[in-house]
């Protein structure tokens, strides 16, 4: 997936005036936040449930190395193959080599953010292996070659006539229709054919359980179940942090994940895989490959401040509540992760220098931190990034202040060092504000929605001097 984080501002400007994006952002996101509230209210003590989830994730990340070792041991005991990938390239190559070794004609995929981060589809395309996204939203944006609009509904804003056109062009649909249900049926038919003959299915992992060596996926459509039941080979990719210690902890996190994501008590399907199929089973994969990928996360782990980002369970609650995201949607974030968690992950994985607009565009309102079931303090980390960027932190790739930031800081510094400069500046400033106030085009952006207080004739110092 191409990195377009540097187009954040330009894309945001476009989205602010895009009517179909506006319609969905204004309607869809508050609905998701509301159903989340309703879902959480099904707990007799929602706050206790949240506290336990936060503590579970904090402990999981705190004990990460130990849990990964336990997970690997138990997964292998159950018959899974475990591959450790240092980088996305390593993970991609492993999958590509597996495909070539077994002469796999095509693969199908469940919705997986981690494979978007890896850019897996592009690598497989170059290898000449067709990749079929099987989640309906992902399928649509794959055909349209668009980035995801939202983590849960990647294509939710796309008008039906656009979907109809692309389905007729590239998904074998014969009769035009604007009915979402009929379009869904067309996608089902096209992908059903792929499920019938597929030899390898690729999924992500919502949660891995150390004590049993199991991997867990949640979904509503059933495409992940197909990827885990129909082919001979299943490949499931997890980044190092997607792990909890025990089944009991996993069950609690599942309750939280589903309520925070879609407001459901549980999604239609949750599957817990422990090893490949047993020899006497009629279906299920003969081989289960679990890829544990680092891709910069052990470096993130080394800094206790940034380590907290690894607690994320990708529920989307922060994304839905963020006032900035509600204005601009997912496109401007320019990479696999969007919204508040994108403001944390993209800078850490790509560098503070390429993503300064992302963590710059935050009002620090704390809504994300308040809803986060994993206990991440986004605003604190955003401030940390701003500071580290200013200080040109070597580990995080801070680039230092921009020219205008340095100009203003230096100018204010000089003016503040010489009383005569300072007094002249404030006198001019007072007069300018009283005379021009809100109207002047130069300051309209700041003053359109705010009023200056009335400027007194004398400053406090003047009064004291008398």
């Amino acid at each position: 997936m191409d990195v377009k984080t540097e187009s954040y501002v330009a894309e945001a400007k476009k989205e602010l005036v895009n009517p179909s994006s506006r319609m969905f952002l204004d309607f869809f996101l508050p609905v998701l936040s509301a159903v989340r509230e309703i879902g959480l209210s099904s707990f007799p003590d929602p706050q206790a449930a949240v506290e336990r989830a936060r503590a579970i994730r904090r402990q999981s990340v705190g004990r990460l190395g130990e849990l990964l070792e336990t997970f690997e041991r138990n997964a292998m005991k159950a018959g899974a193959k475990v591959f450790w990938a240092k980088t996305a390239a390593d993970a991609n190559m492993y999958i590509r080599d597996l495909i070539n070794r077994h002469k796999i004609p095509y693969v199908t995929k469940g919705k997986s953010m981690i494979t978007e981060e890896m850019g897996l589809n592009d690598v497989l395309a170059k290898n000449g292996t067709p990749v079929y996204e099987t989640d309906l939203g992902e399928f649509i944006i794959q055909l349209l070659e668009k980035p995801p609009f939202h983590i849960i509904g990647p294509a939710i804003n796309i008008p039906t006539d656009e979907i109809c056109r692309i389905f007729m062009e590239r998904a074998g649909m014969e009769n035009p229709t604007n009915d979402p249900v009929a379009l869904g049926q067309a996608a089902r038919d096209f992908l059903r054919d792929k499920f019938k003959h597929m030899q390898m299915g690729i999924t992500g992992v919502n949660m891995a359980v150390a004590e049993t060596g199991s991997i867990i996926n949640v979904e509503n459509e059933g495409n992940i179940r197909f990827n885990k039941s129909a082919p001979a080979i299943q490949v499931s990719v997890m980044s190092i942090e997607k792990i909890v210690a025990s089944l009991d902890e996993a069950l609690h996190m599942l309750r939280m994940l589903c309520r925070n994501g879609t407001g459901q008590k549980l999604t239609s399907y949750v599957t817990v895989d422990t090893g490949p199929r047993k020899t006497d089973e009629m279906d299920g994969p003969e081989e289960l490959h679990i890829i544990i990928m680092d891709n910069g996360r052990s470096k993130i782990y080394e800094n206790p401040k940034t380590r907290e980002v690894l607690q994320c369970i990708r529920c989307g609650a922060c994304i839905n509540i963020c006032p900035v995201f509600r204005q601009i949607g997912g496109y401007p974030y320019g990479w696999a992760y969007t919204g508040p968690i994108g403001k944390l992950l993209n800078p850490l994985l790509l560098g503070l220098d390429r993503t300064s607009d992302l963590y710059g565009a935050c009002t620090l309102c704390n809504a994300c931190k308040n809803v986060c079931p994993a206990g991440i303090d986004h605003p604190s980390m955003i401030l940390y990034f701003r500071n580290r960027n200013m200080e040109q932190d070597q580990v995080l790739n801070g680039k230092g202040a921009t020219f205008s930031e340095r100009f203003f800081a230096n100018t204010a510094g000089i003016a503040g060092s010489y009383p005569i400069l300072w007094n002249t500046a404030t006198t001019i400033g007072k007069t300018a504000v009283s005379r021009f106030g809100s109207g002047h085009p130069l300051v309209k952006a700041w003053t359109e929605k705010r009023a200056f207080p009335p400027m007194p004739k004398k400053t406090y110092r003047d009064i004291r001097k008398k």
Binding site: K86, D135, R192, R225, M282
Partner: protein, 229 residues
């Protein structure tokens, strides 16, 4: 590869330790205090909220007639069935005396490819479940030779027979029983409703990849109401 593993684990273990407070206690699970009838009502309500159809029946005769009605209403002619002991005890063959209905089983097919072809083409899958969970109206299936994965996934209609004695309050109760008896299977599936999506213009519809209809027949196989732990 081993060196990648070791490098990652070394970096993680050498990093500064986070202070992790003990986990707070498990929040209250009110379903643990419900009696059988309350659990059943909660289970039914939750499952219906997720767009499944639930029929409560008393005894085998009512079960078989409800099943026959469901088959007729949905115009089902080819049904693939799970092969556990409970399903065998239902004597489904007698339902197919009306010869328009064919029941098949995965083990009828030696070749797994032909089995897959078949299960992709039947009208419905009919399975039992290992547990039913009241807290969210969830069915839990332990996949094995007797209860194949695709039965409850590929066909457009999933018919389920649930014994009320397998109804438990919360997921933890089911997992505990499972671990004490057969242990974790290769795949454990939690089903809470039919397949759903709203990915196109936020318009919800069922049957995206999995079943469009989930029809649950809940058999009261207990002799009297009991307090469930």
């Amino acid at each position: 590869m081993n060196s990648v593993r070791n490098t990652i684990l070394e970096r993680l273990s050498q990093a500064e330790k986070t202070v992790c407070p003990d986990l707070p206690g498990i929040p209250p699970l009110p379903h643990l205090a419900m009696n059988r009838e309350e659990l059943t009502e909660t289970f039914v309500r939750n499952l219906q909220e997720q767009s499944a159809e639930v029929h409560r029946v008393n005894g085998f005769e009512e079960l078989r007639s409800t099943l026959a009605t469901a088959i007729k209403e949905n115009n089902l002619t080819r049904i693939c069935v799970s092969e556990d002991d409970f399903m065998k005890s239902l004597d489904l063959e007698s339902l197919s005396n009306d010869s328009s209905i064919t029941f098949s089983k995965p083990s009828d097919f030696k070749d797994k490819t032909i089995y897959k072809e078949m299960v992709f083409n039947v009208d419905a899958g009919l399975t039992s479940v290992d547990f039913a969970v009241a807290e969210s109206g969830t069915l839990i299936i332990r996949h094995c030779k007797e209860n194949a994965r695709l039965l409850s996934l590929a066909p457009l209609i999933h018919l389920v027979v649930v014994r009320q004695t397998t109804l438990v309050p919360v997921y933890e109760s089911a997992l505990k029983q499972l671990l004490e008896t057969s242990g974790l299977p290769s795949q454990l599936t939690f089903i809470t409703g039919p397949s759903m999506t709203a990915d196109i213009m936020a318009t919800p519809f069922r049957g995206m990849h999995g079943p469009r209809r989930l029809v649950v027949i809940l058999l009261d196989d207990s002799m009297e109401t009991q307090h469930i732990r």
